[in-house]
Symmetry: C2
């Protein structure tokens, strides 16, 4: 399971003492090759955290040199965002320490952080913690690493998938953290995916972007995008097996989808996971815009929390998308809630009292009758627990 | 006060029996001239309710004929949205009945509705209610009309303003309802503003659009836009006084601002009114987009509910606005919360524990250092009561 499921990887997770409660807070993942490659996708938030700035620059430098990052240091005790030059220096010290321990060039170390914005990291705990993590690196360390990156998550999130080819098996493994601020352009989430597939970094980047587009960018818990979101793919090549690009993308997408759904189902304070299918849209992006408008309607999300099949709020939200973005005729739109067509042709359909919203998973299908594209977006309901978790303390 | 404050107007508000609890639910406002003019702004939601479709068409027809609508019928017992052809026929019957009572051409009757989407109106109550409203029309009926258009509002909202000119006084009065779904492109709100100023309909339309842009479009309670939003301006001309366009716009804006702030301070379940000033933006629209991104961040709004000066969530939200929409350098941004500069130059500023968020009004100022424009947008915090009001029953 987790990031050490594929051969060629070692990982560790430790409690460095940065978290006041003594929980694990520092993880290290190392790619042992023999054919190391890497790809990464970062938040599009303009207040990118210091580790995002660092890792983005490191990816660019490796691309210039024809090399690939070999290790990732992740901490869950502070975002190191909006911390200015001192924060960037802390990220650089973290990378330098890991580079020294692993005897790797500085640019081959990526760094990820998550936690409160605007607070300096406790470097006096982090740096000694790295010694500890290095000492504990192991091919069975994936689950420990997954446990060390969580914040308000209720449980560590990791997954792996083996795929048989006629040359032998290949494996993709991954870990993720995230339980709020889940939105497109990534979420408050850190994800590391590993594989023993032999692939070059340029191809890996294309595959990762495609997989993220169909997975992490299709979950939108609360419309908020963080300053730290990062998805990293490391490939060791130790299987010596290469896959056709489409096949690897598909495998990678499966792992990313599984991790993304794990994030949504653990979103802060949610009581429903809501699947929004927008079908028969003119284009994929048109469908996605309609789905996002619905997923971001607080009135809709509060109604689902109250088990109220208030389809008017679905249409009101869809109706805010401009025609040039998503062409459709309001008088043609159907809405199905958990199998009941509550709205037909933009008006009253079947009896809404027949909709049973008691289960955790809710499925909304909106048929635009405007084309043949379809998209799926996942979100959560808006609950008292969401308010409580996000008002009762800083995070 | 209210819509009968200016001379030339009569109004009434009655309980027709459409509301199960027997509360007032039907209002009638009539412009007696002698120089009637009208203007209107409607929701941009594509699922426009039947009364919006009707009133929009009536405005266009009057423009063709060189006439002006003379009366507005408003009900607060159902949105008559997503009700298809039958719903439109109900609106038409409502207008026809009012036209007959008032002996006016059909196109001179505007109709507004608010309430639950997707339910037919109780026409067997509404039509006899109109007889009653007609019988009760009075130059003192403004407050009754204001009371008859509210839904979940805690109190009727109305206001009037007298302005001295060297020819004598002119008056602007208005009433509004709205307590949720408050967003740009208008809110779940119905507004009727009246004046005795002498003005033509074309000028009135320009003045109204300008006033709405600076008032109702600068409040965004929960990011949701309704299917029924309407702002109507009726001018009687009975003062026989014309004002320069800029002066009338300014007067109209004052009344609209007062009504808009009344809506925000009565927003469903809110415990804080949050004023967001974005200053030194490159353009007005750039500042507005940044303000809206902050106003729509559930994480930020929940933090304010918790009296937590979590400025990181303000920057995260601002950082989601693309550079081409709002150019600014993240390393230059300052954030002031209730007078304390918690963030300076994109990083930690003064001690955030000094911020006192205990008062109802909270003032956030974000300085982009990217130009010389400034905008103000009002929103609310996200509270348990918001969730309760929007999940516990259909509305």
């Amino acid at each position: 399971m987790s990031v050490t499921a594929p051969s060629g990887f070692q990982a560790a997770g430790v409690a460095s003492g940065m978290k006041a409660n003594g929980n694990p807070d520092l993880a290290l993942v190392v790619n042992g090759g023999p054919h190391p490659a890497a790809a990464a996708v970062f938040t599009s938030n303009r207040f990118a955290a210091a580790p995002v700035q660092w890792s983005r620059a490191a990816m660019a430098r490796n691309a210039q040199l024809g090399s690939a990052p070999r290790a990732v240091v992740l901490n869950s005790a502070g975002a190191n965002a909006c911390t200015q030059a001192a924060g960037f220096a802390d990220t650089e010290s973290t990378a330098a320490k890991a580079a020294k321990l692993l005897q790797l060039p500085l640019e081959q170390i990526l760094v990820c952080s998550t936690g409160l914005i605007g607070e300096p990291l406790k470097m006096d705990k982090l740096l000694p913690g790295l010694d500890d993590a290095y000492a504990r690196l192991s091919t069975a360390g994936g689950p420990d690493a997954a446990a060390a990156i969580i914040t308000t998550d209720s449980h560590p999130k990791h997954f792996s998938l083996a795929h048989e080819t006629f040359l032998g098996p290949v494996v993709v493994g991954g870990m993720a953290k995230g339980a709020g601020m889940l939105a497109p352009g990534l979420a408050t989430m850190l994800v590391v995916v590993t594989t023993d597939v032999k692939i070059d970094s340029r191809t890996a980047q294309r595959c990762l972007e495609a997989a993220v587009g169909q997975s992490f960018n299709r979950i939108d818990s609360d419309g908020c995008m963080s300053t730290n979101d990062t998805v990293i793919l490391l490939a060791s090549g130790s299987s010596e097996i290469s896959l056709p690009e489409g096949q690897f993308t598909s495998l990678l997408t499966s792992v990313c989808e599984k991790l993304a759904l794990d994030l949504i189902s653990d979103a802060e304070g949610a009581s429903h996971d809501i699947r929004i299918d927008v079908v028969n849209s003119a284009t994929e992006s048109a469908g996605l815009e309609v789905a996002r408008a619905i997923a971001r309607s607080n009135l809709f999300k509060a109604a689902i929390f109250g088990n109220d099949p208030n389809w008017g709020r679905i249409l009101s939200a869809a109706g805010t998308v401009p025609p040039e973005v998503a062409p459709f005729d309001p008088d043609q739109v159907d809405v199905v809630m958990n199998g009941v067509t509550v709205c037909r042709g933009g008006g009253v359909g079947e009896d809404r009292s027949r909709v049973d919203l008691s289960a955790r998973e809710v499925c909304i299908s909106v048929d635009l009758h405007a084309g043949d594209q379809r998209v799926t977006l996942w979100t959560n309901d808006l609950t008292h627990d969401y308010i409580h978790e996000n008002s009762a303390y800083s995070s």
